[in-house]
Point group: C2
């Protein structure tokens, strides 16, 4: 995982300040957003190029979280105004949550234009933003090898047409199980997965939180259990860390083989497990390769039946 | 899996007639009970010896479900009166259920005395019955090698002292996740598992339905995903089929090694997946070895990341 020779991976999504309350703790205005978690997670495997928008309250210190990890921030637009702010509160199960406040601020004007240096990106992660904007980004990438996309229930219910259009152009959809059930109108996960594959993507990863995640494709089916943690501090960003780790790991392999997808699942799971261990991006900012691989090996040992 | 040389496995539990309603189907007075599902599942790997009690409404045809599978029924007590009857209704999620009626009938007088020919059993499955009776059975086994025990929330709340006493004498506890949380007073599955191990058993298997199952022990941790089914017909007995398949498989190996426990998890998962595919024991009555092993191989392929 030396930095010099890593493959570029384009990452687009939200950049935010999150105020989060859990049953036992809270944090105010902490660095968050799908592009933030995705890029930091991907940086352990590839060279992320980020596209996002922030306000003038986004300081150089915030930016250092990216640059310290070797992330290309050319595509981060810093404009006058306030950065996107989300405020939420988690239930006792640390899974269900209530949104207390959403201030889009400068994010409302997000109209990403890719820097010229980004357009040759072969590996792409389109984080959870409006499908119309995800499509607009994709239009600016010359010849991608692998495009992963994340979405959420809000877009399934409010922008299904746009979502279906972009699904036809991507390689892999990241989605959680409830969203997969909503998108497919099915309740059994294997049927939901197969239904979603018919919508266009070659692969779908269905994330089930502490119950692990599944990858479905034509003639391919992987399951990876979640890392069993004695305590979850903050689940925010876990899905983005998963996707960033996944796409970064596939970029490192450099091709979309069966083993590259399996590695993506494993490293996605590992990065998500570190993300939930601390508030904000604190859990994924300073990991050692040995720490990452030890957790990967533990996951593999859990399913090594021989 | 030839029948001649199979290892005996002692199986004790309820024998019942179940009336079950699911959101789409129903069945009346179908063969059920923990000993029934456990013994039939175990019969694919070992030679079950059943201990149970039934009424005179339990016909030779019902008994044939056992004898046709080579199960020793010497320990089934057929007495005057009616067989235990349970009536329940499953919610749309096919997991939560309401008990509509419970008639203990002859089961109320269940006071198992092991036939002399059963007392040398090395492998034992104590199905879900009162912990006091499980203990009484255990007292009659001369020198068991491996004892698995199943229980339920009813005993955790109503007979915790008896349950804790028997937990100190067994090798492995089968329990579902909600019950594990209740028994341990913990909410994170890994902490719950570790807490339960301190209560006595060398191993605990925490079953999570469609999300798979976990085995914890000292220096051992396995996860096996559930078989992904397009449709579940009736979840009744799945846990008993899991446990019967597990203990039967361990008996076949003949020792409690790491690989024997892994095989137990895999075959338990396979038998449970067949059990839920049909009402009553219909899904596990006539399986071929090739069918069982194909499903085992599919589970293994889902977690084969190389």
């Amino acid at each position: 995982m030396s930095r010099g020779s890593k493959t570029p991976v384009l990452i687009v999504g939200s950049m935010a300040f999150d105020s989060i309350k859990t049953p036992t703790e809270s944090v105010e205005m902490a660095l968050g957003g799908s592009a933030t978690f995705g890029a930091i997670a991907a940086s352990y495997f590839a060279s992320p190029r980020v596209v996002g928008i922030v306000g003038d309250d986004f300081t150089d210190e915030h930016l250092a979280a990216f640059t310290n990890r070797g992330i290309d921030t050319t595509g981060i637009d810093r404009v006058s105004g306030k950065t996107f702010h989300w405020k939420g509160s988690y239930h006792a199960n640390m899974q269900d949550r209530d949104t207390l406040d959403t201030q889009l601020n400068v994010f409302e004007t997000f109209d990403p234009k890719l820097p010229g240096s980004y357009r040759d990106s072969k590996f792409v992660f389109l984080g959870n933003i409006a499908p119309r904007i995800q499509m607009k980004v994709l239009d600016q990438v010359e010849a991608p090898t692998f495009v992963g996309l994340d979405t959420m229930n809000f877009w399934i219910s409010s922008a299904l047409g746009d979502l279906k259009a972009v699904l036809r152009r991507i390689d892999l959809l990241f989605i959680n199980d409830e969203e997969a059930f909503e998108l497919s109108n099915e309740r059994q996960v294997i049927v939901a997965g197969e239904t979603i594959l018919k919508m266009g993507p070659k692969y779908v990863v269905i994330k089930r939180g502490e119950f692990g995640s599944l990858l479905f494709g034509k003639d391919i089916c992987f399951f990876v259990p979640a890392v069993l943690l004695p305590r979850v501090v903050d689940p925010t960003g876990a899905g983005d860390a998963f996707a960033g780790g996944f796409v970064g790991s596939v970029a490192r392999v450099g091709e979309v083989s069966r083993s590259a997808l399996a590695e993506g699942m494993l490293y996605g799971t590992v990065l998500a497990s570190f993300a939930v261990g601390q508030f904000s991006v604190d859990g994924v900012l300073e990991l050692e390769r040995a720490t990452i691989d030890l957790r990967r090996e533990f996951i593999e040992s859990m399913t090594n039946y021989s």
